[in-house]
Subunit: 377 residues, 2 copies
């Protein structure tokens, strides 16, 4: 891990946020729960009804309003922001509104709770509102060296779990999807993550549902088991963590030829999309590469979601690799490449890596084997 002076990192990010605010004509940014705040300050707001909000005026010092009893959780970064604790019976929205003052264009953190925005609408009747992601999204989407290293460590950790899965070291047959999901969740933490974010386990026909919720269905001999899992891995110094996200499929016994064919088309589509994810290529074009190969392989219409999402402090962030997003990839973008083929009522498969666009070409952080592993009872 490159050693970084965390406060300097945050101060530099704040400078870049202010420059982007100027470019977008934003007078003040308001950041609360979600990933913008930890990326900019190292502090993750408690997702509760007591408001935490960082007020970033374009031309004055930033102030973080924090519930008084949560102030001890905040690591002070004097150069970057002031901390103001608000008392249990105070109205934090009026404190924020006073700090915003006469600002006309206000950007608010995408995941801020609507209850606070509803109150701010009343407190700041003249303001016009923007998503803060229009300002911060493009900045967060370009990872620096330390951030890529954080993503790499996270990827290495889930690669080790994927290898165990493929080696048959994680029992599948006879266990429920939910049991395997819990097992994966425990391993994600054991491999060094702060916490597990999700662990999808979908067996047999459940694999046709991309966001399947692990159930009490017992895994049988002779079916596909799709595992899609990730967590947040700590990056020292800043107190901010970076996410992992990987999908691999195994088959409990010899797969039917028909499934092997499907998997072969999918694997080719996935690796081709990784190779296509070069700096300067529009995000939508990378999606189109995988989609075209899947359609041409005889599975038209069965790749029912976008190709991928950016990843960093958050599991899903800019850039999105989806039809309609013509923004070209830039060096430092990190994103998933995860095509899937889903046959309703029968089976499904998905292969996912985290990839970084670099000047030297696409760099896949996940290196676990991409083939269809066969595990025996």
């Amino acid at each position: 891990m490159p050693s970084v002076d965390a406060t300097r990192t945050f101060a530099d990010r704040l400078d870049r946020v202010r420059a982007a605010m100027a470019d977008h004509g934003v007078d003040v940014a308001l950041l609360s729960v979600g990933a913008d705040l930890p990326w900019l300050t190292g502090y993750r707001a408690m997702p509760l009804e007591r408001l935490t909000m960082l007020v970033v005026p374009a031309d004055a010092a930033a102030t973080m309003f924090v519930p008084r009893l949560e102030v001890p959780r905040v690591v002070p970064r004097g150069e970057v922001f002031d901390v103001v604790g608000w008392d249990e019976t105070a109205d934090p929205v009026s404190l924020v509104a006073a700090e915003v003052g006469a600002a006309r264009t206000v950007a608010i953190g995408d995941q801020t709770w609507a209850r606070f925005l509803v109150d701010l609408l009343a407190a700041l009747p003249g303001a016009s509102w923007r998503r803060a992601s229009t300002v911060l999204g493009p900045l967060r989407a370009v990872k620096d060296e330390a951030e890529v290293e954080g993503l790499r460590r996270a990827a290495d950790a889930v690669d080790r779990i994927a290898a165990e899965l493929q080696a048959g070291a994680i029992p599948l047959i006879g266990r429920t999807e939910a049991e395997v999901s819990s097992d994966l969740a425990r391993r994600i933490v054991a491999e060094g993550h702060e916490h597990t974010n999700f662990a999808i386990v979908a067996a047999g026909s459940n694999a046709a549902s991309p966001h399947h919720h692990p159930s009490d269905r017992v895994i049988q001999v002779g079916e596909v088991v799709l595992c899609d899992f990730g967590g947040t891995y700590p990056l020292d110094d800043t107190g901010v963590g970076y996410c992992s996200d990987i999908t691999r499929c195994v088959y409990t016994g010899e797969p039917p030829v028909e499934f092997a064919e499907l998997y072969g088309v999918l694997q080719h589509a996935q690796s081709s999309a990784v190779q296509a994810a070069t700096v300067g290529t529009p995000a939508a074009d990378v999606d189109a590469v995988a989609r075209g190969l899947i359609d041409a392989g005889g599975y038209e219409g069965l790749f029912i979601h976008r190709l991928g999402h950016g990843i960093g402090v958050e599991e899903h962030e800019d850039p999105y690799l989806v039809d309609g997003n013509d923004d070209p990839l830039v060096a430092g973008n990190a994103f998933s490449i995860e095509p899937g083929i889903y046959v309703e009522g029968r089976w499904g498969a998905r292969i996912e890596d985290i990839v970084v666009a670099t000047a030297d070409g696409p760099l896949s952080l996940n290196r676990a084997d991409h083939g269809l592993a066969v595990v025996e009872a």
Copy 2:
């Protein structure tokens, strides 16, 4: 668990929501992430950038807009709402706006992501916005028999863990706060919860910070260890879970007389507040009972947070027991009673139970011993 017809439960709740909307002059309610949606439909939206939103017009059928690939997660409840899957490249905000139509007063779920409200502000320029909690909060705050049973099961589960803590069966001395927190988190799931929501472990002077984040500080002989933990316990039939939340303190060795005195005052304040939590009593008055006894006991100003919060599908919900909330408690209200005394730089203590206001008086769901347990090395 009383057997319930889940769909009938949800249909009944929807009727009551519509009646409350009429009382509040709300034309349409929009519910997304957060607890309103599962309470009303049994479905918990994925907290991601793809919008899930239930549109409840005052006088027409309710419609849930769901990302197409998440539609298989939704248990259909035909009487209660229709399901519309939106495609990966569609704009869900415009779908919702079309369904809202010319409605003038719109209530939006408190935890909905601000990015969607920002987009809706642009799509519905004539609308006036309210927090959905003004409509749903008072309804959700009155628990029915099955909900109280759900809370009771959750409370029983954490009571068993508290008893183990007090019996010295959970090692403390020589472990870090973070290790004990992980241990508690594991036990919360092992005792039947779906997932752990939090597990605060604060030792020695860290116990003076009510929302302390468990650290690498190693627990020593001769200090207080404050543990505040809870999770979500499944309530069968509806697919909705109910929360636990308990705080107990133990001392690693004989406590000093000064701490025992502090604890005695706290315990008296806590039990007195429980007894004061009768139907018809203003919420603020219950807070005042505990605060008055702590102040009179010589700890004026050291109880630095509100007395408690409602609990149900969510860890924190209406009613809040805090100065300024003069709403009288009603039968079926469930809430925490959790006074604390915090001496900065030295130590702190808190005792917390979940209590239900009933026609027969306050009913404490937590029954783990309230005294200061002494655990030896």
